[in-house]
Every structure is written in structure tokens, then in C-alpha cells.
Symmetry: C2
Subunit: 393 residues, 2 copies
Amino acid sequence: MDRADTLATLAHQTVTFADGMTLECGVSLRRLDVAYRTYGTLNAARSNAVLVCHALTGDQYVAEPHPITGKEGWWEMVVGPGRSVDTDRFFVICANVLGGCMGSTGPRSQRDGDGTGDGPTDTGPWGTEFPPVTIRDMVRAQKRLIEHLGIARLFAVMGGSMGGMQVLEWVALYPDAVFAALPIATASYHSAQNIAFHEVGRQAIFADPDWQGGQYWRSGKVPARGLAVARMCAHITYLSEQALTRKFGRRLQNAPKDPSEAITLFGDMFEVESYLHHQGSTFVHRFDANSYLTITRAMDYFDLAADHKGDLANAFRGTRTRFLLVSFTSDWLFPTAESRAVARALNRAGANVSFVEIPSDKGHDAFLLDEPDFHRTLAGFLAGCAEHAGLDV
Amino acid sequence: MDRADTLATLAHQTVTFADGMTLECGVSLRRLDVAYRTYGTLNAARSNAVLVCHALTGDQYVAEPHPITGKEGWWEMVVGPGRSVDTDRFFVICANVLGGCMGSTGPRSQRDGDGTGDGPTDTGPWGTEFPPVTIRDMVRAQKRLIEHLGIARLFAVMGGSMGGMQVLEWVALYPDAVFAALPIATASYHSAQNIAFHEVGRQAIFADPDWQGGQYWRSGKVPARGLAVARMCAHITYLSEQALTRKFGRRLQNAPKDPSEAITLFGDMFEVESYLHHQGSTFVHRFDANSYLTITRAMDYFDLAADHKGDLANAFRGTRTRFLLVSFTSDWLFPTAESRAVARALNRAGANVSFVEIPSDKGHDAFLLDEPDFHRTLAGFLAGCAEHAGLDV
């Protein structure tokens, strides 16, 4: 089954808002679908909800097997019974982001149509013509879901990387709707270097003739090689030099026979190359290239200070939300300095902030991996917040 | 004029060795061309020769306008009359590396043929079937040139990045032929992260249908988009986050009209994207994709300690060469720690070593840029060596 079919045949738990949503760019979506998963039970007071925001290539399958890969949920180490985010205690919600490819409205969705049915621009999937979305648009779509679930205030909003950007935007946009906020391995804006790496990935997709101007569903062929190159490039930035050296070093393995797959010396290739090939080729089975374009763009444009008269503190004035910021020492994509800048802005805004830098050699990906100190930090902070919130579960 | 034609129409100063050369991989080239440039005058004692080794995408046009781009030589800030490497005093030589595309034997060269003329594998350019070369092969080709010029001992060998790898290999291979060695912004092996970035670039080239299995000369179309993506990805690694932030930050500019060139929000794109596009698109006019594959591979396989029983010091035992190692604080491609490891090995081998880390926010590219401290360091070291060598110019 090719990748487009795999994504198309999936059924997701979804809520549809028939009145649609107007995006920050001015385009109105006539209909808004938000695909989501929940774990645990909402208490009678509706006060124990934790919203988890996923990263660029994540999705709503936080704590259960992924419907395409069959692998365990992307944050099962953190979310589940007895875990740091204890689903015996909290009601955990995660929605596929607006612009995604796992059931929420995005480039794979059918165009709204204007009712006249006059021609190809009115029907079929949006593809690359899906309107640009922002982190704020993603958060506004999540807010609709939260209201639909009957929740006025979230006990916590948490997420890493792009998920952390959403956390910051949540507090800025809905200051009274969030008791505790946990932006992890993130920043209040995307740096020039990060934009540059994203642009390399986008150009790799554009360069693939199977991209077909973004209308690849017409031929049934997807831009798999371009998307794989994009993923490979991004994946390096998620790790650290130490992690790559520890995992692979300069170890060699036999090269594949296909000369289009590798330029070898003495018939060998490096293990790290094989690993990257695997990362690239598996990714294209579970992700849509146009969603990748849409979501990387949303990250690049995120700049919370610019949205608040150039001072990040303005985004948080008067906030009563309790914050836990977490960074990892070897994360060079969202380095500690960027979390520290957020902490300083929160201090200027008089917020209640804890900031922890976790020693790790695993790079940006550390927030997804087995990092006991990180997990204990999350659990401790949530326990303290639950006490302050008078959360009775 | 398309890029393939541009490269083909150039005439380079070249020496041909009709007896060829046997490569480390076992393949014998029946003929060896080495294209080179010289600056300054060789003295009567033939004792003032400085060999400059170029980096991955460099060439022999060190201190004069580039024949394709018309831009000034890549090291005019360092090499020239009155410069740190003073061409009024020194005779400077630079050769295009074996495997390159500016006149030395490489993938663009005609196959040797086995004399039988039996079919397509016997004639035409090597393309991707050019045998893999190593840094050592490059150095051995340079040695042939140096002998051809009648020089028994070089006053100095110097170079940055891959040029620095060649410097280290020169000393290891020909310990008595080098009075002073200047490996700059380099390492004794290529790290897993660096290999990974190279592999992304190679996969981008392979993914371009115009690559045509490496035989792109047959159609006259070159894999320009894939090579441009490779260049863009590599270029980010040559800079630093600070340099990108200083040069571009998050500044926007109008996006091009062609939707295949950019996914924009509100019609804008980031300046850093436009800069990368420019880096990618200009590169393909002056460089050959198969040379890029060949040379990145040579860098990846470089591991001087592994070639000397696992101890780098073994490469330098008994050396009388004087060393100056230079690194730059913000270079994350060849970080200071890797130069320090070379310095330690040289110390273990009892060598005469100076090691300077230059403060710079310009990243790996600093060795090519206006860094007065760096240039003064080079000049001072060379002056001291000239005195010790009794160099009378």
C-alpha cells in the first residue's frame, strides 16, 4: 500500500465544527475538523484536563500504538498510568494540529468549495494551496476542541519543541484558561539557523518531480525522495554530535548493492548513513509532504515577542499561570539560552516560573527519550501545581 | 551557457603524468592530470615553496579571479603581495584536488580505456564510476606536482577544513618534505555528524532525476536542484547561529512569484532563505555533482589515527616539522576540541606545536573571511619558521 493510501484509509476520532474558522492570514475555512485522542477520565469538576501539544512530525497518538507504524505512542514514557503525567489522575487530551495529516483540517482535506462547483479550484484536496497557518491558528483550533469537551480551564498545557511554542501561545492568548504551562525544549521564536534548516527540507521537497507542484494526489505518486531528504536533514538537528558519535561513531557496514543508494569506498558505508536512510524512508509512509511544508512554515513564522510590541514580557503581563521551562544541555536546535530568554521575560512579567536545564547528551530529542531526571521534574511540578490548584482526584 | 558547458570550456594550467597513478582502492589511473596555479617566484635554493591545499568546494584559483564566477580568489585575504602568505617572499602553489572538477583528473575526465575500445564502459567520462579517492591519494597527486616543479622540500603546507586534512596527511606521508605545517579549522577524522550532513547532500543529488545515475552528461542536463540542496545544507554548517542571526535574523523580504520556490505567509519569505537559494543556485554553475560525491566521500573516510594503528601520535613520530594549529571558537563543524586532539597527539609524538583558538562568531567559514587575528597569527608563525629555516629571500 503506498503512503497516500495509508494516510487516506485511516479513521480518526474527530470533532467537526461546521461553522469553520477564520485563519490569521484572513482565509476562512468553512469547516474545521479536529482529530484528537484522550487518555484517563475527566473528573466531575472538569478540573483535571492536561492538553499535550505535539511537535512538527508528531500527532495525537501520545500514549497508544501509532495506527500506521504500530510503534508505541510518542510520549508513552511520560503519559500513562503511573507516569509523570498520570492518566489515573489526569484527563489527557492531544489534538492533531491544524495543517497536519492525521485527521485535522490540513492540506489533505477537501477544499470547502464556494458552492458553485465551478471547476477544479473548487474541489479536491487543498494540497499546497492550503492557506498558511500559524501557531496561533493551531491553538485556536485546540481551544474549540477544549470547549467542545466542556472544559473551561485546563489544569495544564504542555509540549516540547513546536508543542512548546503552542504552550506559550496558549498562555498569551487565553491567560485565564491555563493553570500550569510546561514549554519544553522550545523558544519564543524560530532562529535564523532553524529557518535555514527548514528551508533546505522544503527545497528538497520542491526539487522532487513527484511533488508535481503540490498536486501529487493526482498521479498517486508522492514526493518520497524529497520528503526523505528533508527528514534526514532535520533528524540530524534533533540529535547531538555526542549522541551520533556514541550511537554510530565511524563504524562501517556493508553497502547496499544499488549504486544509486550510496557512494562507497572499499564497498563499505557508515552505519550513521544507513540509520539516516531508515529515518527518511520510514517517515514518508506516515507523513504528508504538504503538511510538512505547512507546519514548518508555521514554526518559522512564530515570534511571540513580535506579536506583542517587541517585548516578550507583554505576552504574559498579569498571568497567574505557573510555568515550568525545561531545556536540555546538548540541544542545539532549541538551546538553553532560548528557554532562559523566555524565563527572563516571564520574570519581567511577574510570573511564577521554574526553569530546569537537564543534563543530557541526547540533543533536542531528549524530551522524547528516557531521561529520568526530566520525567521526575515533570511529575514533581505537576504534583505541586495539583496541590496549589486544590485538585482532588 | 549551461553549467556543464561552462566547466568544459575552461582551460587550466595542467601537468600530465603519462604513467598515471595507482589509487589506494587498487584502481590504476592510466594518466594523471594535475591542474595548478602558482604565485610568486621560486628562489634559487628552491626553499621558499608554500603549498596551499583547498577545501571541499575550493580550487586552485587562490589569489586571482575565479575563471567562472569572476570573483576574487578564495584566499586573497591571506595569499598575495604583503599578505600573511607574502607572494613577494614565498612561491605559493595550489593544485586542484584529485577527484575535482577544475582540471585535475576526476569524474569529468575521460576514462582511460583498456585499449580494446569495447563498448561504452571503455570511453566517455568516468562520471559516478570514477574510482573512490582518499585524502592520501590527493596528497600523493600533489607530491607528483611538487617533484615536477623540482621541489624536494616544501617550506610550508597549509590549508583549512579538507585542506587541513591534506596538511596532516602530507606530514604523515612525507615527513621530510615539509618544514612547517598549518592545519586550520580541521580534524584528524570526519565525525559522525559531519558524515551525516554529507550524506544528506549526497541523497539530495541522488534524488534528482537529472542525476541520471551519474551519467548526466549524456542528456546535457545536470542535477542542479539536487546539488543546490546539497550546497544549501552544507552551507548552514559552514556558518554559526550567531553569524546567521547577525546577518539575517528574522528579517523578511518579498517572496518570489513562483509558488514552487517558496511557501510564504502573508507573501513574505525570510532573507536567510533567499541567501541560501542564492548559495545553492550559484554553486551549480561552478561545480560538478559527481566531484561533490567523490570529494565528500574522501573526507568522510579520512581517519588518520585508524591508518596508524589507532594512535594519531604514530602518524607523527619523529617529525621535525613545526606545526601551527588554528581553530575558531564558533566553528561547530570542526570544533576546537578536534584541533586540540591533534595538538595532544603531536605533543605525544614530541613535535613542535603551536595551537591558537581564534575568537570569532563566523563559524567554520572564518578561515576564509576577514579575521585579522587569524591573519596576524599566520604571518607571525611563518616569519618565525622562515628564520629557523634560514630562509633567505
